[in-house]
């Protein structure tokens, strides 16, 4: 991944993270604000319910007391026979705006019932068993009605006429009509759960039966268990609602119903969805803009870096004269100037090094030439001096000395010629003729060629040829020479015998040739200079053998390396390009 790409990604991630953070904060703040508003709305509705409940209770109490104080009821209380008053309650209830009305005799027997006229004569024992009704106010009660039980807000008044007593009960059903009287803000609803055990539970809202009662059961269950108000969120997603449950207790504190004030979370969910979609759009836009800006910014930032990288690659490729333009005075400008200084320094140092190396090479060449030429020259000088001395002092032996002397001269001149020929060969190393070459075959031929010599030197030859080795592109003669030089080198390194291992290793893109000996080994310093022309660790030799090897390997676009441990041996490793 390029620096520019990385920088672009960092910018993009930063923009996305910033937009995400803002969206999260806005969403969270909105949710909190919404829930605060919802809580206020619910509390307001609960308070409205309480007010309405108390208002209706007061109205019922007033109406019932008014009925109890009426002449009609007094005459009923005084009557010896209640039968003629059987239909009384209906007209009284109607004229007093009450839905429920019963006139009950002192013994608890119903005289007249507006809500269930047929119940005359039936006993209302709960009335006669309690006293002080007038001060009790209105309360919730489960009322038996022809169409089933219902929750009602009722009040009771006692009428005493002489020694006779009569109860007046009146009230209103707490049902759909009551619920629809509550002013509902948008998105809110109020539901009534009536726990009327004999007829089963009923669930009502202002419009009738509740369609989705199941979602409220956990809240109802909790209120039934705890007998106190609770608030829960029910449902999921846009169908979720915040529900405040208010237990409705009767006269004996028995739970008769539960009022559920519910506020839909649809608005919040939709707002959150809107925020999310807006957030996503802003994020996408922000990311796009951020990418464009960061692309432009990174292009500006990385342009000098890229120029620096290109120049560095040129330097690495050998073009030490490469330089970068200095376009600013900031850190990048300083870096460019430093780079330019560095390359100019490198060029200067290379020139100095080349000169030094050139001088050293000439010195080494001169030393080697002097050394190599001095050895045959000394016998030549001695032979010529012997011949002159024999000519001057013993002419009779001159013929013999001359014969021997010329023989020696020719031999030494041959040596000189050989020396010069080798130097000439090195100088004239031809370009390789690259053809497919079977390296295993070259190894095999070399092993066969050196078999007697190795046996004489007590060296065990081990060849490990890779059977899957493919052909390589090489010059068979030059590679044979490389192999011969390395084998000769190994023989010289093992004067007291040892093991010579020649190994070929085939890989996908390259072929490796390893030649290992178990000789004295080399020091690291010797390893560093081993391929320097005319350098040798041996008492004889020109020091050109490994230099030639390196030259051939280099001409084959290969690489040679040496690893050695003193006392354990040396391994030459040549990596060649597969054909």
């Amino acid at each position: 991944m390029t620096f520019r790409t990385r920088l672009l990604m960092i910018f993009t991630v930063a923009v996305a993270a910033a937009v995400g953070l803002v969206e999260w904060i806005v969403s969270g703040t909105t949710r909190d604000a919404f829930e605060r508003v919802e809580t206020k709305r619910i509390n307001g509705l609960v308070a409205q319910f309480r007010r309405e409940f108390h208002r209706r209770g007061d109205e019922i109490v007033r109406a019932v007391n008014a009925v109890a104080e009426s002449d009609e009821v007094l005459s009923t209380a005084l009557a010896s026979d209640f039968a003629p008053y059987y239909g009384e309650a209906s007209s009284i209830a109607q004229s007093n705006g009450l839905e429920l009305m019963e006139l009950v005799a002192g013994d608890g027997a119903i005289i007249s019932s507006a809500e269930w006229p047929a119940r005359f004569g039936y006993k209302e024992d709960w009335l006669s068993g309690t006293s002080g009704w007038t001060s009790r106010g209105a309360f919730l009660r489960r009322e038996e009605l022809p169409d089933g039980a219902a929750l009602a807000l009722v009040a009771v008044a006692e009428v005493t006429a002489g020694d006779r007593k009569l109860y007046v009960t009146g009230g209103q059903r707490i049902g759909r009509e009551f619920l629809s009287s509550l002013v509902m803000p948008e998105g809110m609803r109020v539901l009534l759960y009536q726990d009327l055990s004999t007829t089963g539970a009923q669930f009502l809202d202002a419009s009738g039966a509740v369609l989705d009662p199941g979602m409220f059961f956990p809240v109802i269950h909790e209120v039934q268990q705890q007998r106190r108000e609770t608030t829960q969120t029910v449902g999921t997603g846009a169908a979720a609602e915040i529900v405040h449950a208010l237990p409705l207790a009767g006269l004996d504190n028995g739970l008769l119903g539960i009022l559920l004030v519910s506020s839909s979370r649809r608005e919040l969910v939709e707002m959150e969805a809107s925020l999310h979609s807006t957030g996503w759009m802003v994020a996408a836009g922000g990311i796009l803009v951020g990418m464009l800006l960061s692309w432009w910014a990174t292009a500006r930032v990385t342009k000098p870096v890229r120029a620096l990288a290109v120049s560095s690659e040129k330097v690495a490729a050998g073009n030490w004269a490469a330089s970068v333009p200095v376009t600013s005075n900031d850190e990048m400008g300083q870096l460019a100037r430093a780079f330019n200084r560095m390359t100019s320094e490198l060029v200067a140092q290379r020139e100095r090094l080349l000169q030094a190396e050139r001088v050293a090479a000439w010195k080494e060449l001169a030393r080697r030439l002097a050394h190599e030429l001095k050895n045959p020259l000394f016998p030549l000088q001695i032979t010529v001096e012997n011949m002159r001395r024999a000519h001057d002092s013993a002419p009779d032996q001159f013929e013999e000395v001359f014969r021997e002397g010329t023989g020696t001269l020719l031999a030494e001149l041959g040596s000189l010629k050989q020396i010069i020929s080798r130097f000439s060969d090195f100088a004239k190393m031809p370009a390789p003729d690259l053809r497919p070459v079977d390296l295993n075959q070259l190894v095999s031929q070399a092993a066969k060629l050196f078999e007697p010599q190795l046996a004489a030197a007590h060296i065990l030859l081990l060849t490990e040829s890779d059977p899957n080795l493919g052909p390589i592109a090489g010059d068979a003669d030059q590679l044979t020479r490389v192999l011969h030089n390395l084998i000769l080198n190994a023989i010289d390194a093992m004067p007291r015998g040892g093991e010579l291992t020649i190994r070929t290793i085939g890989q996908s893109e390259r072929t490796t040739l390893e030649v290992s000996d178990t000789g004295q080994g080399l020091t690291p310093e010797e390893c560093d200079r081993l391929f320097t022309p005319y350098y040798t660790t041996k008492t004889h030799g020109t020091g050109l053998g490994l230099a030639i090897v390196q030259s051939v390997v280099s001409d084959h676009k290969g690489r040679i390396s040496v690893s050695s441990q003193p006392g354990k041996g040396t391994t030459f490793r040549i990596d060649l390009v597969a054909a």
């Binding site: 039968a83 003629p84 059987y86 047929a118 119940r119 004569g121 022809p146």
Partner: protein, 339 residues
């Protein structure tokens, strides 16, 4: 003995009527009668009591089935021309409207509900028949389980209904024939037995514990509701509706058409859809026949009730209704019309 006395009473009334008719002057005027019943036939009824009774002294002049009937005095009536010139009968008038019409002078004779009888001031003129109409529950053929019928019969608190809804009008009964005709109606037990009723209900499969009851006349809806309430105490669920032809049971009102026991029983059996009882001349025979009819509680007799009419003060010469409920308007005349 009682029957003999009633026959003599009717005979003497007829002689007296004939006697007076011979000297009956023409007073004129129209008697306006309102009734609850709606007779929706193409022609005026020729038999039965009520409108059909007018045919002897009046001639039909206008008939609108279920709404109006107009009669004019028949100059050739067997007992002589009636005092009145005509009689106009409005049918299907609710009790409440009848009362209002009487109050404002638009009606001269109206029917009143039993529950209203006790509210009528003592000064008002009221004609009442003997308890000739029977209020009873009749089960349809689909109710085959005798236990259900018996449980309902035993659960009904007749006394409460009689005291309160009927305002003690008429008689509680468990017999088809009223006591004043048969003399043995008291032998049929009418007391409530909730324990027995609950036992019978408990022996019924749950699906059979539900019953629909049709009230054929809206006036008796409170009675039907009370029956349902009583039935609930016995463990039965009774759903009350008005004029429901597919109901399991019906609360009906039928009328005794004769003072003679067997004839009355036979008429009631016909009206209730029961088989005819074997003809019997003796009280024992009639009793045996009635027992047979009531066996199995196919019919639950509840009350014998009279017809009660409230009469305008301007109507004189009555009573114009016989104990059996027959109309005898030929002797009536209207105040202010008489010269």
């Amino acid at each position: 003995m009682r029957h003999t006395w009633l026959h003599w009473l009717a005979f003497l009334s007829l002689i007296a009527a004939c006697g007076s008719a011979a000297t009956r002057p023409r007073y004129g005027g129209t008697l306006r009668v309102e009734i609850r019943e709606s007779i929706e036939t193409a022609d005026p009824p020729q038999t039965g009591q009520g409108i059909a009774d007018l045919a002897s002294a009046f001639t039909i002049t206008r008939w609108e089935g279920g709404r109006l009937a107009a009669y004019s005095a028949n100059d050739d009536a067997p007992g002589g021309r009636p005092f009145l010139d005509s009689v106009e009968i409005q049918m299907a008038r609710p009790f409440r409207d009848q009362s209002i019409d009487l109050e404002v002078g638009k009606a001269d004779i109206i029917e009143i509900a039993p529950s209203e009888v006790r509210r009528i001031p003592a000064a008002r003129k009221v004609w009442s028949t003997a308890p000739v109409r029977l209020l009873a529950v009749v089960f349809g053929p689909q109710i085959t389980d005798n236990r259900l019928r018996e449980a309902l019969a035993l659960s009904i608190d007749r006394a409460a209904i009689h005291n309160v809804i009927l305002q003690r009008q008429g008689e509680i009964t468990a017999a088809l024939l009223p006591q004043w005709i048969s003399g043995y109606a008291f032998l049929f037990p009418s007391a409530t037995d909730l324990v027995r009723a609950r036992t019978l209900t408990a022996s019924l499969p749950v699906p059979l514990r539900t019953l629909s009851l049709s009230v054929e006349e809206i006036t008796w809806r409170p009675v039907g509701d009370r029956i349902a309430l009583n039935a609930r105490d016995a463990g039965l669920a009774v759903n009350v509706s008005v004029r429901n032809p597919s109901a399991d049971a019906r609360l009906v009102e039928v009328r005794a058409i004769s003072t003679e026991a067997w004839e009355a029983l036979s008429g009631l059996a016909s009206s209730l859809g029961l088989p005819q009882p074997p003809r019997a001349a003796s009280a024992e025979g009639v009793y045996s026949g009635e027992r047979m009819l009531l066996e199995g509680s196919r019919v639950i007799p509840l009350f014998h009730l009279p017809y009660v009419y409230e009469i305008s003060p301007r109507v004189h010469g009555g009573p114009g209704i016989t104990p059996l409920g027959a109309w005898r308007f030929e002797n009536l005349w209207l105040e202010g019309i008489r010269p």
